[in-house]
Symmetry: C2
Subunit: 330 residues, 2 copies
Amino acid sequence: MKVVITGGAGFIGRKLAIKLLEKNTLDLSGGAAGPVDKVVVFDVAVPDPPFPDDPRLEIVTGDISDPDTIRALITADTDAVFHLAAVVSAGAEADFDLGMRVNFGGTRTVLDVCRALGTVPRVVFASSVAVFGGNVPDIILDDTHLTPQTSYGGQKAMGELLISDFSRKGFIDGRALRLPTVVVRPGKPNKAASTFASSIIREPLQGDKVNCPVAPEQPMWLLSPRRVVDAFIRAAELPADAWGASRAVSIPGITHSVQEMVDALAAVASDKVRARIYWKPDPDIQKIVSGWPMHFAADRGRALGFTADDSIENIIQAFIDDELGGAYVP
Amino acid sequence: MKVVITGGAGFIGRKLAIKLLEKNTLDLSGGAAGPVDKVVVFDVAVPDPPFPDDPRLEIVTGDISDPDTIRALITADTDAVFHLAAVVSAGAEADFDLGMRVNFGGTRTVLDVCRALGTVPRVVFASSVAVFGGNVPDIILDDTHLTPQTSYGGQKAMGELLISDFSRKGFIDGRALRLPTVVVRPGKPNKAASTFASSIIREPLQGDKVNCPVAPEQPMWLLSPRRVVDAFIRAAELPADAWGASRAVSIPGITHSVQEMVDALAAVASDKVRARIYWKPDPDIQKIVSGWPMHFAADRGRALGFTADDSIENIIQAFIDDELGGAYVP
């Protein structure tokens, strides 16, 4: 079985690729099932650090919006595509044309190429809670409208519509996952407004001081890297008839205030670790984050078998185990 | 003031063009206000029958998805664009690529050209209740999600997202109207599944027998041609700050069963006129129509000052007055 992961060099794509290679099986109910013979990791640049050596792994670089590139990538022997390639929220807001080209145009190119194969491949699309915004209820329901307040959210919402219509027409067998904020991300802070949600856990555990730019009472809608990888695989393996009239679903997460997150850090590590956090509000970041919906019913996601993390403590412990080799700076 | 109407040779575009010429003023609050110096009617073919002679009227034919054509059409002196050009529902379902090219690609071309002007023109987009479908509540609310079950609906929903994001970014000042089924359309039946809603009124009034393919208890969500033209003009004239986080709105209509529609025909005309309707169910049409949402709260539309018709009787009388010269075949 051949699997393609676009944006595969990114944090989540990399974990997904490695998990598929380890698992070595994918059961596309109603489609192919069997060993994972080939995982093609596609991204704009070669993965850094490199992936572990594996004869089943292939690295391809190129532009997601270029039809020739994608035709060479997604060939008739492709059983499943995980389409994660995207310009992040702040990037799509700063450069509208880049966001349209990569986030919308790239998705359309992937879907057009998949359609042209005639094999109705499984396609799992990384959407985002950024599709929500504006005038929404306090708790986002499965039938709440999409009124995104960023170009990134708009491009993801258009991608969801394409995924659903291409699936309804029988061109692909698609699924779109609206992902909560994924914590704890390893590595360095990036320019995403949500980057602090990982930084306030990651940096203190490595002995570094870190600023929390938002108020302690700010709630966050969270999912761990382990659960997000599980969600992608479950989404691929669910049968087509489980999805109904829409191929999009809000993935269940857990809602915690920033205060609860840092208290959990103290519980898992120590008060001394927590004391490495200082609180200097950043009104710009607070304003953006305050606009994000943070409470979701996610009933449909639960009914489809997607699972949230047990607790924020377990998310933090998993980060220590998976990314810090089981040890933190006390 | 220069106004462009795409799809202007169609039934609604024609009425809108003529109304703007008669009214001879458009008050784009916060934008230009003044006499209508030029109305450009754009469509794939020359209007048939021709428009009345008017020195302010210009007819242009071409392909809505061709950037060069649209750049020559929507020039820097354009104050408002009414973007109605579309392949109808059945057409977009039968030819997916045509629907994507015209309904989505045409909209994107119009918006890209408007953006490039740098003048932030007013753009009013004809959307549709076809953006709704699938698992929706019995009464569609203003925050009900868009899960279209046709490619036409999907393309209109993507157009709405573009209109909102282009407006949020300050590229255009856009508005998108989700229109009910417009009755009574003049002329001949077309291939739309909803065509019977006009035919069952229009044909008997002209002395012709007509089949009603759906059950008498089938509800319909209706708006008259007069009100739809008023809605486009109101949408153009509303100030930008009236719209908030989304530029899309469901236009209020009235819900009547087919039985109520034909009873109103008897009340306005006669039992003899009504008796020209026969009832031979068409399961295919019934199935499509049964899937359409027919009950809308439309609170936001009402709050924005859009108005539904007073009664189905008045809709029928207006058709007799406007299209049949005040007389019907008794």
